[in-house]
């Protein structure tokens, strides 16, 4: 499905990013695995991908940093000779009630989750324009659409990603660079494991399908958006949330 394509997935050492990197590789793409801190975990993703018979390497970068993202993208292109798919997945959370939220907690989340998408998109745009084509898939969140108490910073960033996705889609459409977002709901990952039982139960009661999603549920939609099958879709946000927000 993606044979000969090359991809960069940010925040790919664990959780949803890891599942996306593995899924793209399973479909034949060569995948660069970006990570910020978890070098060992990133390396094990790389090894798992190589076993599928495609190329992979890990690359450390803080996506909020312009210089680091530039260097990362340059390295990916020199390694793979092209860059067809960018998945902006890297994200952090610093949950707190707004009244207790420190400026620093707000800024950190905006920097990584929103500015990071901008930096990486800008860094790959030149290459994709030259190639006259590419796919950018941004991982937003359903709470960016619905809002969520205790996550003012996170939801603001994730809502921002949806706006950024639409503007970028409009700017790049004439160059056949398609830009879409996915908005996962309650997906079972390290990040959701941190939530309290009470929070989990509260969320489950809002999900029509009455269960959590798996990282692979998100990965398969990303794979679709990266594929030829999605060639007439741009600027959209696809909810992968068991029907939580309609």
């Amino acid at each position: 499905m993606l044979e000969g394509k090359t991809a960069l997935v940010t925040g790919a050492s664990r959780g949803i990013g890891r599942a996306i990197a593995l899924e793209l590789a399973r479909q034949g793409a060569n995948v660069a695995v970006n990570y910020a801190g978890g070098e060992d975990k990133a390396q094990s993703v790389v090894e798992e991908i190589r076993q599928m018979g495609v190329q992979s390497f890990k690359i450390q970068a803080n996506v909020a940093d312009e210089q680091e993202t530039k260097v990362m993208v340059k390295e990916v292109i020199s390694e793979f000779d092209s860059l067809d798919i960018l998945v902006n997945n890297a994200g952090i959370n610093r949950d707190n009630l707004l009244m207790r939220m420190k400026e620093d907690e707000f800024d950190q989340v905006i920097d990584t989750n929103l500015k990071g998408v901008f930096q990486c998109t800008k860094a790959v745009s030149r290459q994709m324009m030259k190639q006259k084509g590419g796919r950018i898939i941004n991982v937003s969140s359903i709470v960016g659409v619905s809002g969520n108490a205790g996550q003012a910073n996170y939801t603001a960033a994730k809502a921002g990603v949806i706006g950024l996705t639409k503007s970028t889609a409009k700017e790049f459409a004439s160059r056949n660079i398609l830009v879409n977002a996915v908005a996962p709901g309650f997906i079972s990952t390290d990040m959701t494991d941190e939530l309290t039982e009470e929070q989990k139960e509260g969320m489950l009661s809002m999900i029509p399908l009455e269960k959590l999603g798996e990282p692979e549920d998100v990965a398969r939609v990303v794979r679709f958006l990266a594929s030829e099958d999605a060639k007439y879709i741009t600027g959209q946000t696809i909810h992968i949330d068991g029907g939580m927000v309609m």
Binding site: R126, M129, K130, E171, S174, R175
Partner: protein, 78 residues
């Protein structure tokens, strides 16, 4: 000088699909050569590659005509 102009002209003819005769020093990319903003960005990228130089965003924004591009390249190469 003429050399730079000719190279720039070739790139413009290729990128913007215009006639060689339309590419004059005073021609504006947007008004005379029907380029949109993204075309100009792309053109600047091509020029960077061709002349092996980096044009900062602030400088690139000032490039509106063929002459602007040629003069910029000449001044940065001297």
């Amino acid at each position: 000088m003429a050399d730079v102009f000719d190279k720039v002209k070739d790139i413009i003819v290729d990128k913007l699909e215009v006639e060689e005769s339309q590419v004059k020093m005073e021609a504006s990319f947007k008004d005379d050569l029907e380029a949109d903003s993204l075309d100009v960005v792309e053109l600047v990228m091509e020029l960077e590659d061709e002349f092996d130089m980096e044009i900062a965003d602030e400088e690139a924004e000032k490039i509106n005509t063929v002459g602007d591009a040629v003069n910029y390249i000449n001044s940065s190469q001297s």
